[in-house]
Point group: D3
Chain length 212, copies 6
């Protein structure tokens, strides 16, 4: 999955931007629900500490796990892929829905959206109940479940954009967007390009209090 | 002011990005309050129609006037400088305050923040009651008024970033940021770099319903 | 449509109240979505300027287009028909739903409700996808679509009053109210009687800041 | 106080509208805080039952005590003076503050505003801590306390209209409005003219569920 | 019903806690909707006054009728069974739904939830339209209606706990919890054990202002 | 600090309740801000796993760090001391303020309050900027800072109860409550008595989805 994410990131950034794709040395194999979210952060922080000279950091977990903690370690901009996807969706549509993997991730994602304020733009977070690691094989049944939720999001939620709520779904973006006629937003591409944007706009993480 | 905005934009984007800075042929000289907001849109739409081949459009008015209407004219991403500044501030600080020009602009800006959901991250919108056009001369009294509000935002609002709520304040960003030790966000730089980001991430304005 | 609105208004006010029904000399033939909303305001403001001596102004567009801008031109009370309908519905029912014409109007209406605070009383805004101008003919198919949405609003939304979200639906009010056993609120009647009420209560538009 | 309220009401309505001003036979002498609010309702309902043929009912207590219960007894429109004042203030200003009597009434008023949705338009509810019955004498000290709160509301809350949060303050409206240059809203005048408006607009209390 | 409530309360408290179960001498036979809510309070307050020496008071009506008024009469903690159930559900699940009796009670319960802030944790309040007094007989049809709503709450609302919104449903708790595999919360048990908790934690009702 | 917390807990529970006070074997010495919050959870989970047979778990960190993760490990009720204090304060006062240690903890606490819904009852979270470990010595200067914030909370925020936002402040509760005449709420006492309450009310953590 790290390689898949790296490829998506490289394809999105400007040629002069170097991508270092790395993953935590320990921690759970995937992050789904409160338990995984809580236990992966120390490994994430250690990995961040190993790369002190980067210009920006993207946390490529859709739960935006540890993003606030990473911000305490650096002045570089730090962006979660969930956060990036929501901000991007809000700039291209009045209302969006999110399609993620497991139902047990929903309360965490909904809490994030509320904290960001973007629950006001997100109609609903939907789960396919396809486990993250199952996404790697992407058999036809998996794809059908995702497509069924996209359909519901458009027809029932009146969503005008879809956020794919798992870094492992990145490669579906173009296909689903063409099929359903709405923008399909992948957090990895948004996060790396927003990271470039913040760097070019000369913005760094605030160190005046909470992230000091 | 168009030239000032153009310079800020050019300084922020990647070298391969071309900036076309243009302003409406008619409309009010500055946009402050409900009346200006309402009357400038036809001129804005005409100007947009004159440039059909651009990859993205930035509306460089902090009230984000006409942004939704422009989205109905194009599939290219369309970003307002107010909106861009709020999204950026939310990615680098837990809470921000906005410093704008006239008090009569406050209800419009607050309504925008509520619509975007980002009122949950913005502690307060503050007015200096310096008219937009007065900003061009930037005499010491004007600067002092702005600095006084930045101080209040940090001490009273506990803001950890400041959004400069007028395109005409762009050049103060570095100076104020250094003086007060918090990120100072200028919407023009954010909007052009976010526009680049959305283009690189292959995202376009949703045409499925509201912006069709 | 101006004549239809005029008749509804005249039927609702006290005999001593004179109604001047007029429509903008230019502007789009109907107002549906962000683009129409933005381009009709200059014509509206010009029309308002032609009648400087009125005691109150009703903007008879359900999107409440330009209401805040008109308030900047006068001390007389200014009321939009959308706004009036929502306030009235909130006084006679705990929860209401809105039935309007095109889906592309929904985000604008929802933003208005949120700005007024009355989204807390409105369960849902529903679209029939009957174009405004089609309402003038009111063939049986059109009426059926409206009745289907009223039924859903009562059964699914548990709405206890219905707001008809288009000035062109005014004449359906009595018929639908009788058929469904809930109050059906027409904004035109509410707006003209509320305008009378504000005048009798000696209230004028605040000129202390935003509408100065 | 009933006579004072009656005079304000009569001055506001159209000549053909008859006002019946009456007060509960038992119940507390004034209504301030949760205890008074709870004990006055049976007397209010009995009084309402004594006048079955009225076209509309105004509950002239700023806490809107018993308004929902009265709605269960009649199809006529029922309006509380608090509710009426908030709706009126929202139609003539972007933001208002409320000035009421005792601090112990604040949580009740704030809960009402939240239920109506109009907390989004009300910056703050302020108490003078002048007891309701003291208002009848209106000595200079009392007036000074009210004026001090109006001043704070304008300067600190940036309120653009003031709601006088007690039926006993009705006669101050014109004087304060002239002195401070903002509309000052009295609930009694608003409630009776809104009652006339709802009757003329052919609207009655919904009997489909909650008020059945 | 008082005896049923007493039995549930006694079963939940510590052995050294004495339960005095009493009901108002007058007032409506059951409390459903705004009218019952308003008329039962004087009888409730009289009953409270008859027991001045209790350590805590539980108001065993799911509408939390008169709870704030009772707080004005005593320094002892006062807890409504609705309130208690919502707080408990929020401590054992991320999201809950409420199942109550009549539809006409819904607006009152929703207003309570909003005032408590716990509407953010409650997905939906559902009515079975089984009258309170019908619950006493609990025939199979009644039980089926309740079970149908529990099922919808779990499947459609994604509720992870169920609050039984009527004191008369207390004895169903264990049965439904086992059948559906989610915690089923009864307000009576929660309110008496929370009352014990507040007493042991040395907390009393604040008398500094609103409840003075 | 663990001993201090243990003493407070023991004093609050019923005699038959056994308290096991333990602290994480590793992790930061105190928890203040995002970084500490993120790194202490694995140690907390390990400690929880060492005590599989407890009837309920209290997480005695005012940030409620890891509470949701612990809920995934057990069916026993799990309560954070922050959460417990907010729920208790909401049952004895209409509005409360929180006094905590460091400013950098504020965004985390505010996010918790919003997630619980209880931000609607909390006027403000205030920091004394006394470090947690400094509380242990509790010199006069420290106490004065806490008292100054309590005074502001009562006078400026109109708070009718105070929540002490740090487990290390528990022993100040009685003293401050007497001095200021408002209830002062300590989370440790509330959490252990609420844990007893949930156990007696037969409630366990929902395992149907998020905490499965």
């Amino acid at each position: 999955m790290t390689r898949k994410i790296e490829a998506v990131a490289r394809a999105a950034v400007h040629p002069e931007t170097e991508i270092i794709a790395t993953s935590s040395k320990d921690g759970p194999p995937s992050i789904q629900g409160f338990l995984d979210v809580s236990t992966c952060v120390p490994g994430l922080l250690a990995e961040v500490a190993r790369h002190p000279d980067v210009d920006a950091i993207v946390v490529a977990c859709f739960d935006d796990t540890g993003v606030d903690a990473v911000r305490c370690l650096t002045t570089a901009p730090v962006i979660g892929v969930g956060e990036a996807a929501y901000h991007a969706a809000a700039m291209i549509s009045p209302k969006f829905s999110v399609i993620t993997t497991m139902s047990r991730s929903l309360p965490g994602l909904e809490a994030n959206l509320m904290r960001y304020g973007l629950d006001r733009r997100c109609v609903r977070v939907r789960a396919t109940d396809v486990p993250v690691l199952k996404l790697e094989e992407m058999d036809p049944g998996t794809l059908d479940k995702i497509r069924a939720e996209v359909k519901c999001a458009i027809e029932q939620d009146r969503a005008e954009a879809i956020v794919l709520g798992c870094a492992g779904m990145s490669d579906l973006m173009t296909q689903l967007s063409r099929e359903f006629g709405v923008p399909v937003v992948d957090g990895v591409a948004c996060a790396v390009t927003f990271a470039e944007a913040l760097v070019k706009a000369n913005l760094s993480t605030s160190k005046s209090c909470s992230y000091a």
